[in-house]
Amino acid sequence: MALIVALLLACGGMLGLCLGLERHYKQLWHRLPSPMLRRGLRGMGWVLLAASFAVSVQVWGWAMGPVAWFGLISLAGLSVAFLLPYSAR
């Protein structure tokens, strides 16, 4: 359960970071994001990643939590990268 929460937070975070990049924002909405929006998306991405870290540490403790978190954000980033071009069509 907590694993799923941490994974979803990581996915959200990676999605935020991803859409904070001009190229990928354009892919989805076919227009350029305003600098404000871009910064906002990136900021939100980092906040969600931090939240995912906090949940991981809550579940696994300080020793194992970071290990799990690295795995989670890797997989989250991978799924964002591979799903984005398909959802953009």
């Binding site: 694993l3 990676m14 970071l17 991803c18 990049l21 190229r23 990928h24 696994w60 020793a63 194992m64 290990v67 799990a68 690295f70 795995g71 989670l72 890797s74 997989l75 980033g77 991978l78 964002v80 990268a81 591979f82 984005l84 071009p85 398909y86």
Partner: protein, 512 residues
């Protein structure tokens, strides 16, 4: 004219070290990924062992009853307890505590007729020895791991837009897509790649860097082990003389198991020295992975009559702890099933990274493989074949190994050896198949076969009796089969779709 830039020389290094060791590394990573679930696979390969919900102490009582009946005179009884990951209760008598033992039915305490099998441990052993003689295998795998580190670092250097292309994946664009997929699986999972490769090397530090042990202990590993553990507690036990003991009742196991579990976490096995005597000793070992540190060899000692604690589990010194934590990070025994799944999926991502890497080598050269001279052309043809045999063929061989476990006759002598032989024979056949078929058909047929074998794996449980609970393993197998069916299906439609695009498109990026 011969002066190359740093990026170009790194690209050269990445290409060739990646290609030569990529095949080896794919085999290591794939079997390593499967070995994450070695005990679960092992359980599947022994379908005679029933699923049980018995408590550990109840199972231990059954084992004690059996041992008292069969081996009343033995100096040591060993009991392997069922736990979260396995339903197997094993017993053996005598000093040797590794290497099988008799499997018991935990409900009745009677021995089970379990088929002889190489078991899930095969993937684990293949992962670090490649089924070669142990030391040779470990050195080969170590060399491959060094090459992996080289390829990772050089890969980072030659990746021109590390952060700009962080999330970039452009499907259905031929070579571009292969490069994107290779980059994405490499960059996004980079912490895992680096961690697993480096910690893999650290596990065998004594084999790879023996100088210190040679100098300080004359290469005597037993001496080193004693020095690391700290000797006194051991001697206290061994020093006692077994002759002066009288018969005495063994203490109840339940409170003892509870105490061991409180101190060390879930218990995996018990050894009982001098059972039924007044100087009986009970040694409890934890399952690996109640913490990151790899607690192999750790144990807690009890008085067998009074049930008192004689020795608490040892605490590692900082230097040893560092090594054990690194080894633990590699073995992934900590954090329960969720962590295991994380490692499994990350491992699959590593396999995908290696596979896309070696495939990229041939995709680049398919159109103009004469660019690098006659040797380059020959190598391209070899690489094309080996890619099929290593990537698709190995997957077929791994599933075939599981199929062999259920299909080989149970009464076959040396059955475990035959399972391994089937694995290698199938792998060899896949190489032959890859050589005689055109590359596209070879990929399609082998991937299709692997997918079909994975998807139909659950059907094997209908053959003969299978008493365990294999739902998750079978679901995973079907999921992996569907995953493999996808590229196979893509290969069926690819030629028509890509033909026009190929004419108009010039090679875009040559470096990386």
């Amino acid at each position: 004219m011969k002066h190359k830039t740093l990026t170009q020389s790194m690209a050269w290094l990445h290409t060739w070290s990646g290609l030569i060791f990529g095949w080896l590394l794919f085999a290591i990573f794939l079997t390593g990924t499967l070995a994450v679930f070695d005990k679960e696979i092992d359980g599947w390969m022994r379908p005679e062992i029933p699923a049980t919900s018995l408590s550990q102490s109840a199972a231990a009582q059954q084992a004690l009853g059996y041992l008292a009946r069969q081996h009343p005179e033995a100096k040591t009884w060993n009991i392997g307890l069922p736990g979260e990951r396995s339903d197997t209760l094993t017993v053996s008598a005598g000093e040797q505590r590794r290497g099988g033992g008799t499997a018991l039915d935990p409900r009745t305490g009677e021995p089970l007729a379990v088929r002889e099998t190489a078991g899930g441990g095969f993937f684990f052993r293949f992962h670090f020895t490649l089924n070669l003689p142990r030391d040779l295998g470990i050195w080969t795998v170590g060399l491959a791991a060094m090459a992996m580190l080289v390829a990772l670092i050089s890969g980072i250097v030659i990746h021109k837009k590390f952060f700009k292309d962080f999330f970039t994946f452009r499907p259905a664009k031929g070579q571009r897509s292969w490069l994107d997929a290779h980059n994405a699986t490499a960059v996004l999972v980079l912490p895992f790649h680096l961690m697993i490769t480096y910690t893999g090397l650290v596990i065998f530090y004594l084999i790879y860097m023996p100088a210190a042990v040679d100098a300080l202990f004359d290469g005597d590993r037993d001496n080193l082990g004693r020095a690391l553990r700290g000797a006194p507690a051991e001697q206290q036990v061994r020093g006692e003389r077994p002759t002066r003991s009288e018969a005495a009742e063994l203490t109840a196991l339940e409170p003892l198991l509870a105490e061991a579990e409180r101190a060390m976490g879930p218990v995996s096995s018990l050894s009982i020295h001098n059972p039924g005597r007044s100087n009986a000793r009970i040694e409890a070992r934890p399952v690996l992975g109640n913490r990151i540190e790899l607690t192999k060899g750790q144990s807690m000692l009890f008085d067998g009559v009074s049930g008192e604690v004689l020795r608490q589990p040892a605490v590692s010194r900082p230097s040893l702890l560092t090594q054990k934590v690194m080894a633990g990070l590699h073995f992934a025994q900590f954090g329960g099933y969720s962590m295991r799944w994380l490692y499994f999926v990350c491992g699959l991502a590593s396999c995908a990274m290696l596979a896309t890497g070696v495939v990229l080598f041939t995709v680049k050269r398919r159109r103009r493989h004469d660019g690098e001279g006659a040797v380059g052309a020959l190598l391209y043809h070899i690489a094309e074949r080996l890619n099929v045999a290593v990537v698709a063929g190995l997957m077929v061989a791994c599933v075939a190994f599981l199929w062999a476990n259920r299909l080989l006759p149970v009464e076959l002598a040396q059955r475990g050896g035959w399972e391994v032989r089937v694995f290698f024979l199938v792998w060899l056949l896949s190489l032959g198949h890859a050589i005689i078929r055109p590359w596209r058909s070879a990929w399609r047929e082998q991937l299709g076969l692997a997918a079909a074998l994975c998807i139909s794996l659950p059907a094997l449980s209908l053959l003969g009796e299978s008493l365990g609970d294999y739902l998750y393993l079978e679901l995973t197998s079907v999921a992996l089969g569907l995953l493999l069916a996808w590229p196979c299906w893509k290969l069926y439609q690819a030629p028509k779709e890509r033909a026009p695009r190929r004419v108009g498109k010039q090679p875009v990026a040559q470096v990386n």
